[in-house]
């Protein structure tokens, strides 16, 4: 072994010192410990869907966590190989069902890239507006359900849950007026959007934004500034930035670990080169830091929505021929990858076109941020109690439809 390699090895050991090995068999742990195996999920209200963990406990402390996935594997990627390009938008809506708007945007951006379709400027701004509204709604769900996890289903924790869902309904009403659906909108198409803003819409959006902004201090008093909340979340589930990068974690979970990375600013798409967001970063890496990032992103999204409304350009909202039949979009070949920043992180679409049927993708893979976020579980859970395990899982904000697909 050369000198360089051995130096590298020493460096590696120092970087990975203290990191849990998720593949270490339970046989290697202390045989004297009074251990208990707790099955957690797949049907458990705090697992945010159908997610299962086996927790090895010493007393109340988790010493090893083994996650199991796939309880919501709906074979979306196989289905997408069977359907034409035009038919796929409503399918991917159901993946991340708390933020469907950004799902369809990620998919259609990949289609636009492989087909070389230019998106008109108004559609780009419209996409930013919709994505930021969706970010507000999604972060409200994350915050509400997280406090529900901390406080118990019937305890005081449901207060903020009720507040958050009240404000989320306002955003959903806007989407309903625009697209006709509360969620699963099917409004993004290849080359732009399907629904233009109805007259008087921007006034309604502004009213909702004002209302939510007014209530943000209330939320803060009930969550991130609350002494009990801080006691439950500070120092819990610490995820260091290097591990987060190695696991491919993105979005608020990464920024909560002190890594200044946001695709909206760092690899701009849609109109984010003109509407540059301020990237929120927290250094703690714990549950509180992740929640604080989401919390501050709500205010930032409100600012971006207002900017998008102020500067919304006139013009067409679709640069592609109108959809007349499902087989009209054809791709001869090629491979593309497009990643965008959804409320959960980098949602990517890897697409191979061509094959036997030019109207359908040969392979479509959805890179889901929630899957990467969940892969931190075996690393950050050990050492904390069972009640903290619920808090950590909630703070990662996974959506199982996107994890299992």
């Amino acid at each position: 072994m050369s000198e360089d390699a051995s130096e590298e090895k020493v460096e590696l050991q120092s970087a990975r010192r203290g990191r849990v090995d998720p593949h270490l068999s339970i046989k290697h742990y202390d045989p004297e410990a009074d251990m208990m195996l707790l099955h957690f999920g797949p049907q458990h209200p705090s697992t945010h869907g159908v997610f299962r963990m086996d927790l090895h406990l010493d007393g109340e402390v988790v010493i090893k966590a083994t996650p199991y996935l796939g309880f919501l594997h709906r074979a979306v990627e196989k289905l997408c190989e069977k359907l034409t390009y035009v038919q796929q938008t409503p399918i991917v809506d159901k993946n991340d069902y708390v933020a469907p708007m950004t799902n369809e945007q990620a998919l259609n951006m990949a289609f636009e890239k492989i087909m070389n379709v230019e998106v008109p400027r108004r559609a780009k701004w419209l996409r930013v507006l919709l994505a930021e509204l969706q970010r507000i709604a999604s972060h409200l769900v994350a915050l509400g359900t997280f406090t529900l996890d901390l406080g118990g289903a019937l305890g005081g924790g449901s207060t903020l849950f009720l507040h958050c869902f009240r404000e989320r309904e306002m955003v959903l009403d806007l989407f309903e007026e625009l697209t006709g659906a509360r969620f699963h909108y099917n409004t993004h198409t290849i080359g732009g959007n399907r629904h233009d803003l109805p007259p008087g819409f921007d006034k309604k959006v502004r009213a909702v934004l004002d209302e939510i902004e007014l209530r943000i201090p209330d939320y803060a008093r009930m969550s991130v500034d609350n002494a009990i909340f801080r006691a439950r979340t500070e120092g819990v589930g610490i995820l260091d930035g290097e591990l987060a990068l190695e696991l491919g974690i993105t979005g608020p979970n990464l920024r909560g670990s002190g890594v200044d990375h946001d695709l909206r600013r760092d690899a701009p798409y849609a109109a984010y080169d003109e509407l540059v967001p301020k990237v929120i970063v927290e250094r703690g890496g714990d549950c509180w830091a992740r929640t604080k990032v989401r919390f501050d992103e709500v205010a930032e999204s409100i600012r971006l929505c207002r900017l998008a409304l102020d500067g919304m350009p006139e013009g067409p909202i679709n640069g592609y021929k109108a959809v007349r039949q499902p087989t009209q979009a054809k791709v001869a070949g090629g491979q593309v990858y497009v990643g965008i920043e959804t409320p959960r992180g980098e949602l990517g679409t890897f697409l191979i076109g061509g094959g036997d049927t030019p109207t359908a993708p040969y392979r479509l893979k959805i890179r889901s941020p929630s899957l990467h976020a969940l892969s931190a579980i075996p690393y950050i859970l050990p050492g904390f109690t069972v009640s903290d395990a619920v808090a950590i899982l909630g703070s990662l904000d996974p959506i199982m439809g996107e994890v299992d697909r």
Binding site: L69, G70, R74, R168, H184, G248
Partner: protein, 421 residues
């Protein structure tokens, strides 16, 4: 049809009262779904039921006004179920509260897609609920499997597993629709107790869309052996399985065998992907798609890229290319694509591909990026590419007993998976 009931689980009403006491109370005792101790006491004391009015009415009044919901929420509809329990719609005012345990609940609301991996658990949970119990299928996935129903991993409707009382169509149904469904269930409970069941609406199309054809739970043509199979399978799934522990004679996990990786400082930042590729002897850069690297060299590439600042793992995608005949014939092959990313302003993506013959394996990247662990497991599960040096190459999405790899081109998308689909 806003909300349809299929009341086939209801008891058949006898033509005439068979018993004098039953005639007095208007209910044929033998047809009750359960027996209540109070009910017998009431009937045993002459005149008591007259004095207190109908016990039936009392019982069903209590039943229908405290419907505790067990949220079998798996996906999108679960969010609408939460919204229904939250501020605007507020199910609590109907006496309906959400309980997270089957043992205290009266109604199971199946909100979301049920997969073959989840189905035994749903069955086990349903069997844990005490009688009397009802089931509501919320949303098109629970009703029929929606557009997933012809896919290998999805159960084509929850009523192939458990009997359903109320169907709420929609994708997802609004919270108001869920409330409507609960009101219809209340009507059904009310009607049931006086020998006046809600008439079943015959809807043959609903029964015909099942594919592969498993009889619905209320279907008279349903095979009784299937019930046995489903119960056995559910019992197996709900038993404790500490599947993590290695069996006797199995090799211990290899912990210390990962190759070392350097954590780069800012001064070590190498310029670009092409330079590293040239060092590794890759000079051909194809126009459509990422450069192709040999299966045994790409580990080194990942190491160097990481040292050059590409610190974030983006994706691992395996693709199966079926053999092609015709003008430009090509043999069967696999392709595994990787990508890494730099962090911060001006983020750059470095992607490459590895091409494999059938049966050939590729070096795992778990030693460089811990996140490759689950990604490679997923590709192994769905496409069937093997990764050398992966410490834990097991299935991740599909059940351990699954055969075949669904994303291969020769895999039938609508493969059956008895006893669930």
């Amino acid at each position: 049809m806003a909300v349809s009931d299929i009341g086939r689980r209801l008891p058949v009403v006898a033509d005439g009262p068979t018993d004098a006491r039953a005639a007095r109370s208007g209910v044929d005792e033998s047809d009750l779904g359960y027996e209540h101790p109070l009910y017998k006491t009431m009937l045993a004391v002459p005149g008591l039921s007259v004095a207190t009015g109908s016990l039936d009415q009392l019982l069903e009044w209590g039943m229908r006004n405290s419907l505790w919901v067990f949220p079998m929420a798996t996906s999108c509809c679960g969010i609408e179920l939460m919204a229904a329990a939250a501020s605007r719609v507020d199910l609590d005012r109907m006496g309906t509260i959400v309980r997270a345990t089957p043992r205290q609940s009266d109604v199971m609301v199946i909100a979301g897609t049920i997969t073959v991996k989840m189905a035994p658990r749903v069955k086990a949970l349903w069997d844990q609920m005490p009688e009397p119990k009802w089931a509501i299928a919320m949303g098109s996935c629970a009703i029929s499997g929606d557009f997933y129903r012809n896919l290998y991993s999805v159960v084509p409707g929850i009523d192939t597993i458990i009997p359903v009382d109320v169907y709420i169509p929609g994708c997802p149904p609004n919270p108001e629709a869920l409330m409507h469904g609960l009101l219809r269930l209340q009507e059904k409970i009310k009607a049931r107790r006086h020998g006046k069941p809600v008439a079943a609406e015959p809807n043959p199309t609903l029964l015909d869309i099942t594919r592969p054809s498993i009889g619905r739970f209320v279907d008279p043509s349903r095979d009784p052996a299937l019930n046995e199979q489903q119960i056995t399978s559910a019992l197996e799934a709900s038993s404790l399985d500490g599947s993590d522990e290695p069996k006797d004679g199995e090799a211990e996990p290899t912990i210390a065998e990962y190759e070392p990786v350097s954590i780069p400082g800012a001064q070590e930042r190498a310029p670009e992907l092409e330079a590293i590729l040239a060092e590794l002897g890759v000079t051909e850069l194809p126009k459509d798609g990422a450069p192709i690297v040999a299966a045994d060299r790409h580990y080194e590439l990942a190491r160097r890229l990481r040292a050059a600042g590409y610190r974030q793992l983006v994706y691992v995608v395996a693709t199966h290319f079926a053999a092609k005949a015709g003008k430009a014939p090509s043999p069967e092959r696999f392709e595994v694509a990787y990508a890494l990313r730099t962090v911060g302003k001006g983020s750059r993506l470095a992607a490459w591909r590895v091409q494999l013959e059938p049966g050939q394996s590729v070096t795992s990247l778990v030693g460089v990026f811990a996140g490759a662990d689950w990604q490679e497991r997923e590709q192994f599960d769905l496409v069937g590419v093997r990764f050398d040096g992966h410490p834990d190459l097991r299935r991740i999405m599909l059940p351990e007993t699954w055969e075949g790899h669904p994303l291969r081109k020769d895999f039938p998308a609508d493969k059956a998976c008895p006893p669930w689909r």
